[in-house]
Structures are given as C-alpha cells and as structure tokens.
C-alpha cells in the first residue's frame, strides 16, 4: 500500500489508527449482517423478512394477481374465464373439461397455496423440513402410516388405468403449476415468507397424498387399542358394558341386521400406549372428524312444500383458517371419454384445495353430501419377529420384513434416518415391549376421485350408484337426491371398504402370526347399509350406527359409532313434518335441541327432591321450565352441560381411578343414559374409593352430579342461576392452520353442544359444521350454502373470514345459485374476471 505521508510498508500511529477504524467497521458490518441473516427458530433471518420489496411487505400487493386481467398460461388448449363474485367464489367457464379443471387448480393455488402445501407436507411427513426438529416425531408417524407411499402407488395405478380421474388430475396439476411457475418470490403467501421456503411444483402424488390425509382423518382411529387397555383394566365383560357391541339406547340406523364378541386382551399396555402417544402427535395436522360427527338428510318430494326433494348436508370437521373447504362453480360442455358420453361438468359446491372434485354440491339434476361412517377399518396385530428382527412369523413360516427408507430432512441441517418395517398386515407402529402392526383399508385409497367425479356427472340414481360403488376409503354415508320423475328420488348408502374378518371381530388386537386371523374380503356393495326411496319419505345419517341389530356384517363395520342423539332429533323433526320447506331445512340444520337432555332431565327433576339451598332451587326451576334447547341465552343449558360432565365423572370416574385407567376414554353418554333408565342399580353407580365400595344407585349419583354442577357454576358465574347463560361460557373458535393466534378468529359466543344437530362440542368448540348446504331440487337456484371462513387463504384479504361474523355465526346462508354462463352473473356481483389464455 502506498499512501501520501505514509509510504507503503511503514507503520505510523496514524496509519495504525486508520487500520483499526477500518477493522472495527468490518467487524461491525459482519455483526450487522449476521444479526439479519441468522434464522430464529423456524423463521428465516430478519433480513429476508424485512426486505421492503421481497420480504413481508410485498404481501401488501396480493390483490394484483386477483384483479381483472388476461394471463397467458402454458398447458391450456382454449381460453377459460374465471369470474370471481363479490364473495370471492370463482365461477369457471371453459370450452372443454380439462381446461376447467386446470382453472380450478389455478384458483386453488391462487387462493390457498400454503394450505395445499402444508397439508400435503403434513401427510407426507415433511413438516420437519419447514418447521424444524420439533416436527420429527410427527413426521415419523406419518411416514410409518405411509400416506405418501400409498398415494404414489395410487397415482401410478390411476395413470395406468387411464380413467377420467387421471385426466382430471393431470389437468388440475398443470393448473396449479401454471400458477406456481409464474409466481415470483415476492408474491409468495405470507406463510412461505415467515417460514422462509418456496412452494414446490405440484404433482398427482401430492393431490392424492392430501386426499389420503383427509381419508386418514376420517378413518384413522385407534379405538381397538383403547379398548384393549380397558379390557386390561376392567376385564372383557366389564369393558363390553362400557362400550357395548351395539350402541346403547334408542338408535335410528341408516338401514335395518348379529354382532359377535372378542376374547381377552392380547396386546401389552405399553405397546398400546406407545402407539396412542405417537398418533396424538399427528392429531393437530389432520383435518379430522371431531368426534361430534356430521349430518345429512334428504326429504322425498311427496313430503316437501316444493314437490321435489330437499337435501341438507353439513360435515363436521375441525375448524381451521384458511377454511378446509373452497367453494366453486364450474361449467363445461358435454364430452366423450373412452367412448362414453357425459353431460359436462356443471357443478357448484365444496372442494378441498389440492383436490379436483366437488365433495358436496349439486349439478342441477342431483345433489349429494357425505357423513363419516366411522367404521372400524383398522386392525392391530401382535407380530412375532425373528431374533435379528428382519423376519416375521406368519402361518408357521418366516417372511422378510419389507423395509422402507424414509430419510427425514430437518430444517437447519441434518437428516434423520428413519426406516419403516412392514409385515404382511401393514406397517409396524411400535416395538415398545411388543411389536404391533396395523392393517388398514387406507392402503386401498386411490380411486376415490374416479368415484366422486362420476357422482359429479351423474344425473340419476343408477349413475350415482354405479359411481359410488368405486368409492373405497374412507367409508362414507353418501346421501343423494334427484329431480327425476314426478317427485324425484332420495337415497343414502354407507359406501366403502368394510373388511370381512375371519375368526376375529376386530375389536381387539390379535396374534399376527396366526394365519386364521385374516381379512377374507369386503362387504359386497349390495349388502352395505343403504336406504332408497323409503316409505317414510326421508333418509338421514348422523354418524350413528348404520345397521340394525342382526346385520350380517356387523363386525365388518364395527361397534363404536356416534351415540345417536342427533339421529333421534332429525328423525323426530322429519317424522313430524310432512310438508318440509326450504326454511324448515335451514332451521333443522341450526337446531340446538339436545335429545340427551330431553331424555334425562325428567330423571333429574324426579331424583332431586330436596335441593340443598336457594341456588339449587333456582337451578331446578330453570331445568323444570326448559325445553332442552342449548340456546346461547339459556341458563338451563349451562346447568345441563355441567350436570352431564359430573354425572359421567361421578358414575365412572371412581371406577376408572381405582383401575388406574383415568387416562382412558369414558363411555359414551348413551351408555350412561341406558343404565339410568334400564339398570339404575348397576354397580357402576357405586362409589369406589380406597378399596371400599359404597353401594349407590342412579338417583344418588344424579343428586351428587346436580349438586356438583350447581357448585361449579356458582363458583364460575355467581349465585344467581338465571345469569348462567350458556353463551357466557360456551364458544366457537376458529384456529389458524399456521397456529398463529393473530390469524385465528374467535372465540365467539355460541349455542349448541355435542348432541345437537348444530354441533358445538365442549366449552370451546374448535370443530363443527364446516360446510352447510341446503339444496332445493325443484329449483336448484333457491339452494343455499355457507361455510366458516372465507375463500382466501390470505389473512389480509376480506375473503379470509368474510363468511364468519354476520353470516355463519348468525345462522345465515349465502345464495348457492347456478350461473350457467358468464353473462348470467349480475355485474354488481362481479369482483374480477380473469381470462386464462393458452400461452
């Protein structure tokens, strides 16, 4: 270095000071860069988040992509018009059906890309890649179940089969990718930015993986393991009293059939508990059925005010924002596929972002909707492995385990080497104390889109039934109505794969090495529970037991279903109304009468003859004048709710505690109701404590529970029973899929409970009606629908939650009208028009 006054190579005090200052500046610069570059937990460095043009700020311009415009996209064969209405609902008009599904993929990605990505990642066991090491156990569980392996196999099989579903999936995938490939990083949804990753190109396996996640959420139960633990604690006979082979109490099954019983417990508690623990880790990522079930019903034309069928459906799923559903309308001209002519897709209804099909809705000729059958389609096998752990025994011979390498990449570096061992039954879920594998119908998942697309195209019951026959997993109660003939037709069937078990019932795990415990087939389609144009004039399902006592395939469907209170209520409402109107159908869906209360409150009033004080007298008077509606402004509703909790706990809690089973699920309330009415001196009412037993009866426990409930409410809300309104303590809440509370909504005061048609289980209901539709088959344009949330996944958009406050939460519906062409949409209802041109 040369420098005036300081020749190169010389060192003067002044020169050293300059170097010191420069060195300090470099160090300060490194520190500044480091501060803004270092990731914080799952978040990327602050620098990329705060960058004004590419960081979080660019989300402020999200509306640009949704404004009226013409976009060139590769993969289309002709222009497609997408009209978004003022509620953000896209109406898709295409000159051929693949282009229409392409456009659906495009709008799904536009509005819900992060939801699609993250739900896929959850199912595929790839959350660790974006959320870090805390997700490894969750990923291991999903890798073990193997939803992505199942989906990949299914995608290849469907492609090879060359069905309509493959064509539709391919078009849909192209649409999603057309959007993703045109997306610049600044335009990524906010969640991608917060987590510092980019969306991957979509493919058919991802669509089916997401489908498998939803299927697993509806069928992936581990009741057998819990039941095994109950048997371990109480013995087979007692456990069967708590969870009987056929649900207790009054039942209204879907269709009129013998139930068998399992033997003793085989599985070790440690193994069962290990599997249950792993499964619980995955729960938050499964958009599952919330234990409170779903509703659907249809009324024949000869019992409606319109002369044609009316159909209601409201699936109850966990609430989430962005919402689980996405509403859309689609119109295509008729087409021919593989030599068969189809009328074209003319659909409106509810779709899952990531999946090309309309799972609820109407095509103007028929309407459909599903509830979960809740059948027992997962069995558990205690396997015998060879000493070196590479072979399993089956039927006296040894077979090698199939081993899948499932490396889990973890954000922040590192790969967890994970292997999944699989026997002939399925994946090994635990080797804690015992080796337990699971056989599940989930491995047959894959052709459901073919089935649902067939239903979407069907115009009559024959076509509907032919298509629903293809439906495998998860078993669903699919309801149907059409407007053919004088009064149309209605029907319902529990459709899916129900395994026929040889030499065991499926209630308890069995010896995996014993080849006599096997599935010998599935219940024939014709023998699945169904009801078609019944004399009663209505069909329904509320997740109740679908078959009556005596059904030949009872053990194929299982024994644990919804307790049946909602089925009682809808049966009562439909049987009592021979001129059902559209308004009636709405009021039924919003009904909050609790039939469990209807059944048991009279027992409280008879049992509690000597209230302890003035507050108990007030509470009793409120129950006496109550009509069993769980309205938000009802005080009796609060008393009933806490009575139920204490009645269950006071009856069974002591026995569970004495058996060291307090972590296990208590029986269903209908079991207690049945004991109260039919066996009021049952030993379950006795007080068990410290090895002593005090003999009690139902009346004693009712008094105790009533006293406990009143004391609880007095502590919670004060000594004036009239002020204990249900809405003060009972809420609906809508958590964000991201887990960020700022993106969640609620809590909102709400009526209803676990047993009302308008379900809102617990004190804070985070699940419930996730889509409500009321379809008028006389004039489909009068139909109504709504769902909690909104069309957009962007929390800045008005369409993120605009269906909630003032609409869904107030029991209102939105028009669900058919707009057969672009010009039929009133200009005032149009928010934007996007034209996609082949590019």
């Amino acid at each position: 270095m040369s420098c005036r006054g300081h020749p190169a190579g010389t060192s003067t005090p002044s020169n050293r000071r300059e170097w010191a200052k420069f060195g300090t500046a470099v160090v300060v610069s490194v520190v500044v860069f480091a501060v803004f570059s270092v990731p914080v937990g799952p978040l990327p460095g602050l620098g990329s988040l705060l960058d004004p043009t590419t960081g979080l700020w660019s989300v402020a311009f999200y509306q640009r992509g949704l404004q009226t415009q013409t976009i060139q996209v590769p993969g289309l064969s002709a222009p497609v018009t997408i009209v978004r209405d003022v509620m953000g609902v896209p109406h898709i008009y295409a000159s051929n059906y693949p282009d229409a599904w392409f456009a659906l993929g495009y709008v799904h990605a536009q509005d819900r890309l992060w939801q699609m990505d993250t739900q896929y990642r959850a199912a595929a066991g790839r959350l660790s890649e974006i959320l870090g090491p805390s997700m490894v156990s969750t990923d291991e569980f999903f890798r073990t179940i193997g939803l992505q392996r199942i989906a990949a196999t299914a995608a290849a099989a469907r492609e090879k089969a060359g069905g309509l579903d493959a064509t539709v999936i391919n078009a849909y995938v192209a649409g999603v990718n057309a959007y993703i490939s045109a997306l610049d990083p600044p335009d990524y949804p906010i969640e991608f930015k917060l987590l510092g990753y980019a969306p991957e190109p979509w493919n058919a396996t991802m669509t089916l993986t997401e489908g498998a996640l939803i299927a697993w959420g509806l069928m992936g139960n581990f009741y057998d393991l819990e039941y095994n633990l109950l048997v371990e604690k109480f013995g087979a006979a007692e456990a069967a009293q708590l969870f009987p082979d056929y649900p207790a109490g009054t039942q209204y099954p879907i269709q009129p059939a013998a139930v068998t019983s399992s033997g003793a417990s085989l599985l070790s508690p440690a193994a069962a508990e290990d599997i249950l623990r792993k499964a619980a880790l995955a729960d938050p990522w499964i958009p599952d059925f919330v234990g409170a079930g779903s509703n659907n019903w249809a009324v024949a034309g000869n019992r409606t005010s319109t002369g044609m069928p009316l159909l209601d459906a409201d699936p109850h799923l966990q609430f989430q924002l962005p919402a689980i559903w996405y509403e859309a309308e689609m119109h295509t001209p008729p087409f021919t596929f593989n030599g068969t002519s189809y009328p074209g897709f003319n659909l409106r209804g509810a779709t899952f972002p990531g999946i090309p099909a309309f799972f609820f809705g109407t095509n103007g000729h028929i309407a459909w909707g599903e509830t979960n059958t809740g059948a027992d389609v997962n069995d558990f096998f205690v396997e015998h492995l060879s000493p070196n752990g590479t072979e399993y025994e089956y039927g006296g011979a040894w077979y090698p385990l199939t081993v899948y390498d499932e490396p889990i990449r973890v954000k922040g570096g590192g790969v967890v080497d994970y292997k999944v061992d699989v026997t002939n039954h399925g994946p090994i879920l635990t080797e804690d104390n015992q080796t337990v594998s699971m056989q599940s119908t989930i491995v047959y998942f894959g052709q459901e889109l073919e089935a649902m697309l067939g239903i979407n195209l069907a115009e009559n019951s024959a076509q509907f039934n032919a298509s629903s026959q293809d439906w495998r997993v998860p078993a669903q109660n699919i309801i149907y109505a059409d407007n053919n003939g004088l009064h149309g037709n209605i029907g319902i069937r529990s459709t899916g794969l129900f395994p026929i078990r040889a030499n065991y019932t499926g209630r308890l795990p069995v010896d995996g090495s014993n080849a006599s415990y096997t599935w010998t087939g599935f219940v024939p389609f014709a023998d699945e529970p169904h009801s078609w144009d019944p004399p009663s004039g209505y069909v329904w399902s509320n997740n109740e037991v679908p078959y009556p006592p005596g059904y030949a395939y009872a053990s194929s469907l299982g024994s644990l279903f919804d307790p049946g209170y909602r089925a009682r209520r809808i049966h009562e409402l439909l049987a009592g109304d021979s001129n059902v109107s559209l308004a009636d159908m709405q009021s039924f869906q919003l009904d909050v009468l609790d039939t469990a209360a209807q059944s048991l409150v009279p027992y409280i009033l008879r049992a509690v003859t000597h209230p302890a004080d003035a507050v108990e007298s007030q509470a009793l008077a409120l129950l006496n004048s109550w009509h069993y509606h769980m309205y938000a402004n009802s005080s009796a509703a609060s008393i009933w709710y806490f009575f139920m909790q204490y009645y269950m706990q006071d009856t069974f809690g002591d026995e569970y505690a004495a058996a060291d089973a307090s972590n296990l699920t208590l029986p269903q309330f209908n079991t207690l109701e049945n004991l109260t009415i039919n066996d009021p001196t049952s030993h379950w009412f006795d007080k068990v404590s410290g090895g002593t037993v005090v003999v009690q009866n139902a009346t004693t426990v009712i008094n105790q529970a009533f006293h406990d409930a009143v004391s609880h409410l007095t502590t919670l809300l004060g000594p004036t029973a009239a002020s204990w309104t249900w809405g003060e303590i009972h809420f609906r809440e809508f958590p964000a899929l991201s887990g960020l509370s700022a993106l969640s909504r609620g809590p909102y005061s709400a009526g209803g409970d676990e047993y009302t048609l308008n379900v809102a289980a617990g004190l804070t209901a985070e699940g419930g009606p996730s889509w409500r539709q009321v379809i008028d088959l006389r004039n489909p344009d009068n139909s109504l629908a709504i769902y909690p949330g909104g069309q957009s996944g962007n929390p800045l958009s008005v369409h993120y939650d605009d269906f909630l406050v003032g609409s869904y939460l107030d029991g209102k519906y939105l028009p669900f009208k058919d707009f057969p062409n672009q010009d039929s949409i009133p200009a005032a209802s149009v928010e934007s028009i996007i034209t996609l041109n082949p590019g």
Partner: protein, 142 residues
Amino acid sequence: MARIRFPDLGTRVVFLSAFIAAELLLFTGTWQLAYLAGFLAGMLSARIRRAVILGAASVLVAWAAYLVYVFVEGAGLQLADLVGQILGVGAGAWWLLTVMTLLMGALLGAAGGFTGCTAARLFLWEQAGGEPAGAAPEPPKS
C-alpha cells in the same frame, strides 16, 4: 495503487447520491445491497461520524419512501398491523414492522457508511494525516 483526490461533494450531494443508490438497489430484491448505498455515502464523506449518519439516513429515507408507496398503493397498513399481531404486540402495532424495517435499513446504511469511509481513507483517497486531502478542516471543538 493510484490514489485520487477526495472530492468534497457536500452533504446534500452525498446524501442524494446514496439515496438514489439505495432506492435503485432496493429493487434488486437483495436487502444486503443496501449496505453498498451506505458504503457510497461513507466513501464520499470525510469523517466517520458524517459517513455513518449519511449512510444510515440515505438508506432509511430510501426505504421509507418505498414504504410510503406500499402504504398508499398496497395494503401496507393492514400488513404491518397483522405482523404486529403475529409478533404478539396486538392490534394497532403497525409501527412495529415499519420501525424494524427502517432500523434494519439504517443499520445496514450506517455499517456501510462506516466501512466505506474507513476503506476509502485507507485505499482510495490521497491522505493527509488521517483525513483525505481536500477535506474541509474539522471545525474547532467547543
């Protein structure tokens, strides 16, 4: 290495030069490049304190100008408010993201200014006892 005489451009010119550089570099979508705008301000500043201040100010003002555009033309306010909520500060804390962003810009600019000034003095400008030749004399300290 040949050295050049320090062009004493004056505060306004230095600020404007760095501001324009910061604004242009902003659109590269690479936040790290804001440092270069500060570096430029530092190079053109005779003294470190001025370099740091001008570096910080030029980037801060450039970014602030862009944020005004985001607030006016986009949903900047809602976005900033949402991020405030995500950070747990609650509704109405739109200023938090704004302040954090501008602070980052200012720090990058300041660090750039500091480094630019010291580097230029070492490697670029003809020097006279620690100050670039041509620099205005230091005002007497009171």
